[in-house]
Amino acid sequence: MTEILGLYNYWIVIFLMMTGFYIVIARENLIKTIIGLNIFQTSVFLLYITMGKVTHGTAPILKASHGGESHGVEHGVEHGAEHGHELHAAAEGHVDLGVDAVKEVYSNPIPSVLMLTAIVVGIATTALALALVVRIREEYGTIEEDEILEMDRNS
């Protein structure tokens, strides 16, 4: 039971995903289709973000004592390698940052960062889709797909 309930975030994701997908498939109204598409995309954002969250973890901000110094001094590959390693460790959920053995648990920032990009993509898609719908309405005078197809068939 706990296994099923403990994964509640996935249940939510799946529920949203299917809701969105259903709307995309079933709705004739173009705007509603786009809304469905948005819900569908959002569910994926949630999937990523919940995946990155580590229980009791905080935001992954490096303390000045650690991050601040290292940034100014190290360069290039060394720097990158260390940085990458941290991120990588964070990805696995248990993080041991800093030599002074301060055990702090961070959430994995990468999924959130990825989603930032995906959100941008989503916005662009939605904007473009809406723009297309506006043009369609100007041309056909309706945004009901079945009516549009009917008009196309007749013309």
Binding site: A59, I61, A64, G68, H71, G72, H75, G76, H79, L116, V120, A127, L130, A131, V134, R137, E138, G141, T142
Partner: protein, 161 residues
Amino acid sequence: MNSFPIIRVITKLLIPYILLFGLYVQFHGDFGPGGGFQAGVIFAAALILYGLVYGLPAVHKVAPPKVIEKLTALGLLVYAGTGLACMLLGGNFLDYDMLNHGFLTELPAALDFLPGDKPHHFLPEGQHLGIFLVELGVGITVTAVMTMIFYAFAGRERVTT
């Protein structure tokens, strides 16, 4: 919505703070949470709010569509230009470490008298400078794009069916 004085006044009061908050988010981007995208959206929110309340002509005066269109491109160019600059300085694309300039990075002695904790950096360099520039570019583009989307939809004629 021109005829609701309360909304007009409140909007006028709100907009400076929205803009200020946008700036905060923008310039905090290379230190902590925040950055160009969020800042851009906040900025654009201010413009859109203005447009909603005072009408499209008013906001066109503040941010002419032509300018906004060019800004979209400009922001992207700032971003890519930063990467290109790194390349021209001998590194890989977006290798910010190439942006180290060694100019006024430490606080000058003349300013020692300032009270409080002394900041680490005076002028950002390397990674900080790179991220700052990139975020700036992103901020400009996002502001412009968001506003442009608003313009595009708000500027359409009403269709009569």
